[in-house]
């Protein structure tokens, strides 16, 4: 059964010389004649779809499947034969898939401790004394708080008023400290 299907691909009596001729232009990945052919800088022929899938499989280590030379999407050359009806660059047919976007979680449940995880460096002091408060807010990198609201929105104006109010509170407090 297996051999039936296999020979059905090329016809039952393939000519020896035509077969070797054709194999020159076979994709190195699917072993079929290359569709939307591209050639790497090291000279190896692939279907664009096959090569693209391989590059997506190992995004960190993109090497030519045949010779392990460095390879990239931008450094392959499309091949246009005379008989091909579609003269478009095959690389445009299958646009590179956008990378998944990964947002930081909004709320961090519980005490994060001294975690050196993915979210960046987070340092928190357990003492509420005055100088430490400054440090704590200075050293809180990338703590996952939501960004400011867009300018013009009601929340933005509200926050502007609040920020002015606290600025005045701080100024009065400092003057009181100096006078006392």
């Amino acid at each position: 059964m297996a051999s039936d299907t296999a020979s059905g691909d090329k016809g039952s009596g393939p000519n020896e010389s035509t077969e070797t001729d054709n194999s020159m232009f076979e994709c190195n990945i699917c072993l079929d004649s290359a569709r939307d052919a591209v050639v790497s800088m090291c000279g190896h022929l692939f279907c664009w779809q096959c090569l693209h899938q391989w590059l997506e499989t190992r995004p960190n280590r993109q090497t030519c499947p045949v010779c392990k030379a460095g390879i990239s999407k931008d450094k392959v050359v499309p091949i246009y034969g005379r008989g091909s009806t579609d003269q478009k660059d095959p690389r445009e047919k299958l646009p590179p898939r956008p990378q998944g976007q990964r947002a930081e979680p909004e709320a961090q449940g519980g005490f994060p401790g001294f975690g050196f995880g993915d979210g960046g460096f987070h340092m928190s002091f357990g003492i509420g004394a005055f100088p430490f408060g400054i440090f704590a807010s200075t050293f809180n990198f990338n703590d996952g708080r939501p960004g400011p609201p867009p300018a013009g929105s009601a929340q933005h104006q509200e926050e502007q008023v609040l920020s002015k109010f606290f600025l005045w509170v701080a100024v009065i407090f400092i003057i009181w400290l100096l006078l006392a």
Binding site: M1, A2, S3, A6, S7, N28, C30, P65
Partner: protein, 151 residues
């Protein structure tokens, strides 16, 4: 899925037509299931394994050839070799990290014959006992550490 089967048929056709020396595909096993191949391997002449016969099993996932096949020795004769565990698992980088879709069943078989042939002393890997007890059934699940390129 279709592309995987198409490629396997092409490989089978080539391997049946021009098999490398000492490599025979078990056609009967494949006619039952194209995703699992049994391959008979002969120890190369002039090597320590001359005259021995081994069986390899290839299991292909749906993402073959982008994903490497699962390859291991089976049967009652597992070669005694520093990179072959007594449960048939093979420590060979092209079967995991260094796999490339341009490799094939034929090239994997030749690599394994060549790996056997360059052996100078028949012995099991030093960690054989503990590995065989603790490993997964699938050799691809093992985090292989490739350190010895001599053999």
């Amino acid at each position: 899925m279709a592309s995987m089967e198409k490629r396997l048929h092409k490989e089978l056709q080539a391997l049946t037509k021009e098999p490398p020396r000492g490599v025979h595909v078990d056609q009967e096993s494949i006619s039952r299931n194209i995703t699992e191949w049994l391959v008979h391997l002969d120890g190369a002449e002039g090597s320590l394994y001359n005259g021995e016969k081994f069986q390899l099993v290839f299991k292909f996932s749906q993402s073959y050839p982008f994903d490497s096949p699962q390859v291991m020795f089976v049967g009652n004769n597992i070669p005694v070799h520093p990179h072959v565990y007594s449960n048939g698992h093979i420590c060979l980088s092209i079967l995991t990290d260094d796999w490339s879709p341009a490799l094939s069943v034929t090239s994997v078989c030749l690599s394994i014959v060549s790996m056997l042939s360059s052996c100078t002393e028949k012995k099991r890997p030093p960690d054989n006992a503990i590995y065989v007890k603790t490993c997964s059934k699938n050799p691809k699940k093992t985090r292989w550490y490739y350190h010895d390129d001599d053999v």
